[in-house]
Symmetry: C2
Subunit: 330 residues, 2 copies
C-alpha cells in the first residue's frame, strides 16, 4: 500500500494543519486537538457540533460554515474523538443558546459523544443530540438492518445547519432532525476495500472481478459479493433496495446524493448518476435536489454510495438550497 | 481493472448526460456532441472555449460558469474533440465579440483546436488562442522540457474568465494569457498509473513500493522512478524543481494549487499541503491564494500535482478570488 503521509502518529495533526491552512479564511483549529471551529460563531443561534474519525474527508471539517456546522471534533483515522475533546469543544463554543450534537450511529461514536453530553449537562450546559442511521445495509446472516450513520449525515448537517441559522431552538432542531433522519436512506457499493494506513486490519478482500454491496465507511463488509456489473445494473440494485425502505407513495419528491468513497473518478460517478436519473424517472420520482462528488469518503475506497431523502416539507428544500461557505458543500 | 461504466463506446455520452443533469441550473449540453455551454452566454464579452479529452473531470465542464468558461468541447477518454465539433461550438456561441480558445499543449489538442480556429477564421469569425504549457517535467533521456498543458490550465480559465467578464478585448485577453502562462509551473507524481477503461495501453508499471515523478495527465511516463517516500520528501522534490523554473526573487508572491489526480484521498492531499506550506514559508514565499482538491485529474491515478503561479499583478489575484458558479471551482 502506498500512502502519502509522514508518520502514522501524526496523521490527524498534519491533516488538520493542511485543511485549516487551506481554508484559514473560515476555519480555526485548536492545535494538537481534533477541534476545528468556525472562525466566528454567532451568539444568537444554537451551536451545531459533529465529528468522528479522520479518513472521511471532506467530512466533517468541510461542513463547518454558514448554514452548516459550527464545529467538528475529529479523532484518529476511523476512530471517534475522545469524550474529553468533545466536552472541550462544547464548552469552548458554548453561547447560551444550547448545543446540538449530530452523531453517526456507530457504537464507539455514540459512546464518546453521549458521554461528552452527559459531562456537559453535569456542568449545567444545555446539550442535546440526534443520531443519524441512514445506512440500509443488512447483516448477511441475520438480515438485521445495520443502521450505520453514513453519507446521508451530510444532508442532516445542511438541513439542521440552515434551520439553526434561521433561529430554530434546540428543541425544534432535535424535532426537525428526528423528522428528517428516518426519511434518509443510503446504500453503498465497493469495488476495492479501504486501505487505511494499516491502522485497522483490512476487513474483506475482493477478487479482480468482484464488488461488494452494502459496505460501510470504515471498510466494514457488506451484504453480498457479486461479479462486477455495469453501472446500470448496480444502479438498479441500489435504487430498488432504497425504494423498498419507503412506504408506498412516500417517495414522490426526493433529494439525491451520489457520493464517491475516495478512490473513484468523477467520470464514473457521472455515468452512475445518469443511470440513477433514468431509474428515478421511470418511478416518477421528482428529483428536486441533487449532489454528486466526494462528500463522506471511506479513505481511498473505490466505490460509491447512493442516498435518497424524501422532501416532505418544502422548507427542507429551502434549507438544502441556501448557500454555504463550507468548503465541502459549497 | 474495475470500472463503473456501461459500454466503452458510450462513456462520453453518459458522462456528459450525468454531469449536465446534475448541474442543469447552469449548463446546457448539445446531446450526442461533446459540446457543453453556459446556459446564458453574455453578448457583451469575449467568448472563452476550452476542452480536451474526457477523463480529467471536473475539467473542463466544471469550469463553465460566471467568470470562467462559456463552453467546453469534450472528446473521448484522453482524446481531444474533432475540429468539426470545436468549429460548431465556436459558431454556436459566437456573439461578435471574438472567441478565445484555451488549449493544453499536446500535439493532438493543438491540431484539433488550431484547425477549428483556421476554419472559423475562413468563415469570417474573429478567433484567437492561448496555449498552456505549465508542466515542468523533462524527458529522462534528453532532459528536454516536456511543456505539456496540465493542472495550471485551471488558473488560466479563472484569470482569463474573470478578465473577459470585466470587459477585456480579445487582444487584451491573449496578451494577459501570454503574461500569466509562463509564470505557471506544475509538476506531478504518481503512486499508481491511470487505468483508463482499457482504451489506451498502460504506459508504465510501478512496483508496490515505487513512485514516478513528472508523469503526465494521460498516463504518460515521468522523469524518475523512486522508492516511495514520505509526503515531506516528495514535497521537497516538487517544490525545489518548481522553484528552479523561476528567476531569482521572481517567486515572492504566489498562488498554490495542490491537485489530486483522481485516486488519492483528500486526507493525503491535506498532509501534503501542510508540507508544501512549511517549505514555502522557509523560502519566504507569500502564498496569497491556495486551492486543494481534484481539479484536473488523470482518470483514477493515485497521485497529485503541485502548481505555482507568481502573482505579478494584484489584478491577477482579484481575478482568482472573484466568485464563480462553475461547479469545479466554486
Amino acid at each position: 500500500m502506498k500512502q502519502l503521509i509522514n508518520s502514522r502518529g501524526q496523521i490527524r495533526q498534519q491533516l488538520l494543519a493542511g485543511l485549516t491552512y487551506t481554508y484559514n479564511d473560515t476555519l480555526t483549529w485548536q492545535e494538537k486537538t481534533g477541534i476545528v471551529t468556525k472562525k466566528t460563531i454567532s451568539k444568537d443561534k444554537v451551536v451545531l457540533i459533529s465529528g468522528g474519525g479522520c479518513g472521511h474527508e471532506p467530512a466533517h471539517v468541510g461542513y463547518i460554515g454558514e448554514n452548516m456546522l459550527d464545529c467538528a471534533v475529529m479523532g484518529a483515522i476511523f476512530e471517534p474523538p475522545a469524550s474529553s475533546e468533545i466536552l472541550q469543544a462544547i464548552e469552548q463554543t458554548y453561547n447560551g443558546q444550547g448545543t446540538l450534537l449530530i452523531i453517526k450511529n456507530f457504537e464507539k461514536d455514540l459512546a464518546s459523544f453521549l458521554e461528552a453530553e452527559r459531562l456537559a449537562k453535569a456542568k449545567g450546559l444545555t446539550v442535546s443530540h440526534v443520531i443519524v442511521d441512514d445506512d440500509c445495509s443488512i447483516e448477511s446472516g441475520t438480515f438485521e438492518k445495520r443502521r450505520r450513520g453514513v453519507a446521508g449525515t451530510v444532508f442532516v448537517h445542511k438541513i439542521l445547519g440552515a434551520a439553526a441559522a434561521e433561529g430554530n431552538s434546540l428543541d425544534e432542531l432535535k424535532t426537525l432532525g428526528e423528522q428528517v433522519i428516518p426519511l434518509i436512506k443510503t446504500l453503498g457499493v465497493a469495488f476495492s476495500p479501504a486501505s487505511p494506513i494499516g491502522v485497522i486490519p483490512q476487513q474483506y478482500e475482493l477478487a479482480e472481478n468482484e464488488m461488494y454491496f452494502g459496505i460501510g465507511i470504515h471498510g466494514e463488509p457488506g451484504y453480498r459479493i457479486e461479479t462486477m456489473q455495469s453501472s446500470e445494473r448496480i444502479a438498479v440494485e441500489l435504487v430498488n433496495k432504497l425504494k423498498q425502505q419507503y412506504e408506498r407513495k412516500e417517495l414522490r419528491k426526493a433529494a439525491v446524493l451520489v457520493n464517491g468513497l475516495g478512490g473513484i473518478p468523477l467520470l464514473e460517478l457521472s455515468v452512475f448518476m445518469n443511470d440513477v436519473q433514468q431509474l428515478l424517472d421511470i418511478e416518477d420520482i421528482d428529483v428536486v435536489y441533487k449532489r454528486m462528488g466526494n462528500f463522506l469518503t471511506a479513505y481511498n475506497t473505490n466505490g460509491l454510495s447512493l442516498t435518497l431523502l424524501t422532501i416532505k416539507e418544502d422548507k427542507w428544500l429551502d434549507y438544502l438550497r441556501i448557500p454555504t461557505d463550507a468548503f465541502g458543500w459549497k
